[in-house]
Symmetry: C2
Subunit: 360 residues, 2 copies
């Protein structure tokens, strides 16, 4: 397993994305979001998804020259059409538009439609936090859950990200899916011939199962039973119904279990301009005190440390910024194969050679 | 068990609250919120809490003549001081102020401080929905949970309510706590000498337990493990830190496990003015279609019906509006005792006599 500095991985990912068809500035933007995921330890949403993104571009499923359209706006609302751009390239631009508006407002609710998966949530949270905004972001996704009591895949894992600026503590970032685990996790355990815990998934006909082979044909289960189902429903309503995006079977699935078509998903973003509520320094000090209160409280036996939401990811960011990001053999080979298909690498080039070629 | 029409229970509750010291109009408002809870089947937050509210008033812990103060505002932000009013009487007024502002805006974020428990969340959701607003409301509460890995009660069960207007479906309302169950549930099972399921609570030193006697001295557990803990943290930040309310040990506890003092809790309210996003009829039709999609989807074996969040409560409202609200012997006797203490009933008066006296 080789380790690479973040900047080099960004340049390498950008080179592949640009060669696949993205505009150079979009490729760089997308690469920044992708590598942020690996940097913060969210390995499921980073380089491991690059092949998927390259595939969507090469299949013509995303618009490689999108222009974000403002459908309508008021001082505190914004409706954007993301023009079917690759989410990791386009949604950061949409966030910039929203942040600009939010600076003049107390709060801004923004919905986006005609969009695609935007990658790791903490990227957007950290951008918002750097402008002293609290951010609540959520998105509809490829349906992978049935409603409680049902068996049809109608609802996505619908993640929610909430980011809060802090002082010394830097940030509190909650980033969670509405499902217990991602479908990818079930597939990995199937490959490794492991049983899955009951509670992660049900079979096609709605029975509990610990067999990943049955589970990948069935439905993920939401967190906390019907509460997580309810959360996923609310995410669908805010992200897709308020924006006029696709829902359920209309969504262009990313998992190959449906017709090949654009995702057409929607996102919801709330920005709260902290300074309109409390002096920013005072608010950050209050968050720091709260963090301190929890972290220094009495621990259960055997627990070395109490963590705040997002703290582990921020620690990983610091560590991997200093030490680099490890890329497994299997992932490196997958990306090298993509590079070869794009005519960017010869048969002898491994991932390290690829990185050297594009990032020196 | 006797059954009473909603209006009669409202008048009876209002009579007790007014006698305890609330202004007549506040007593009526509080009674409306309280009885809405019983009406919609949320028995834990309705008449069963009236004795607690009467106690707080009689102990001088709430201001019986509060004046809501506007600390600051912009077009899309509002900071309110609830002047230590009883939550069920004062927060509906605060909501009215917020709704009035939100009519002119796309979105409004409102925080409230110096407040007390506001009762059942669906009251506020339904009020917002009737004005075609999506509402997200949450509140800090008496600490009953430790942070994940800890044992000190620093975080409340911190409930979240999201209400969405619909057409034929009327509304989708998610109303959930960040904890798996309420402390009251543990106390009830202790009285009934029942074991509790593992996963509901931990002991004072952080061990899993199925013994309610240990559990009531320990900490509730959040929904979905660290995800629910994260959710409760975000609710604290939005409700208490953004508003400048009390947190953790500063909160005036309602459970008698701390010094007698005002709660000083905070709330967060987001109103989204649907018409600034999509034509209201179009949005409601989209919600109806989505509800239909889920409800008519294939059910797992043995499941008679798929429900949307809040649907069961709306059904109970319709049923209990028609058939009345049942009041148990024990609850009736508790309320009669309160009435006797307030000099509103003689020793011979049972709850039915009390209702007859105040509501004919």
């Amino acid at each position: 397993m080789n380790t690479f500095p973040k900047e080099k991985l960004e340049k390498t990912a950008a080179a592949l994305l640009a060669k696949a068809g993205l505009r150079p500035e979009d490729a760089l933007q997308a690469a920044e979001v992708i590598i942020q995921s690996d940097l913060s330890g969210v390995d499921s949403h980073g380089l491991s998804r690059l092949a998927l993104y390259l595939g969507r571009i090469r299949q013509g499923m995303v618009n490689t020259a999108p222009k974000i359209g403002i459908i309508s706006e008021t001082e505190s609302s914004l409706i954007l059409d993301c023009d079917n751009g690759l989410g990791v390239a386009t949604v950061p631009r949409a966030l910039e538009l929203a942040l600009k508006k939010a600076r003049g407002a107390g709060a801004l609710a923004c919905v986006m439609r005609n969009s695609n998966h935007y990658g790791v949530g903490n990227y957007y949270a950290l951008k918002s936090i750097s402008e002293n905004m609290i951010c609540l972001l959520c998105t509809s996704t490829t349906p992978s859950m049935a409603p409680t009591g049902g068996v049809e895949l109608l609802i996505g894992s619908n993640p929610v990200t909430v980011g809060v600026p802090a002082g010394k503590a830097r940030a509190v970032i909650l980033d969670m899916a509405s499902s217990n685990v991602a479908m990818g996790k079930l597939q990995a355990m199937l490959r490794e011939k492991q049983k899955i815990p009951f509670g992660w998934a049900i079979t096609q006909d709605g029975r509990p199962t610990d067999d990943p082979a049955e589970a990948v044909l069935g439905s993920l289960l939401p967190i906390a039973g019907y509460k997580g189902y309810g959360l996923a429903v609310i995410v669908d309503i805010l992200s897709a119904l308020l924006s006029g995006a696709a829902v359920g079977p209309e969504i262009g699935r990313l998992d190959g279990r449906g017709p090949l078509k654009p995702e057409e998903i929607g996102h919801f973003l709330l920005l709260i301009n902290v300074e309109k509520f409390r002096p920013v320094a005072e608010f950050k000090a209050a968050v720091d005190s709260y963090v301190e209160l929890l972290k220094t409280s009495k621990k259960a036996e055997g627990v070395p440390e109490i963590f705040l939401p997002g703290e582990i990811e921020l620690k990983k960011m610091a560590q991997r910024s200093a030490e680099g990001i490890a890329v497994t053999e299997a992932l490196g080979e997958q990306l090298s194969a993509q590079a070869r298909e794009l005519g960017l690498a010869g048969p002898e080039d491994d991932f390290a050679a690829l990185v050297k070629k594009f990032a020196g």
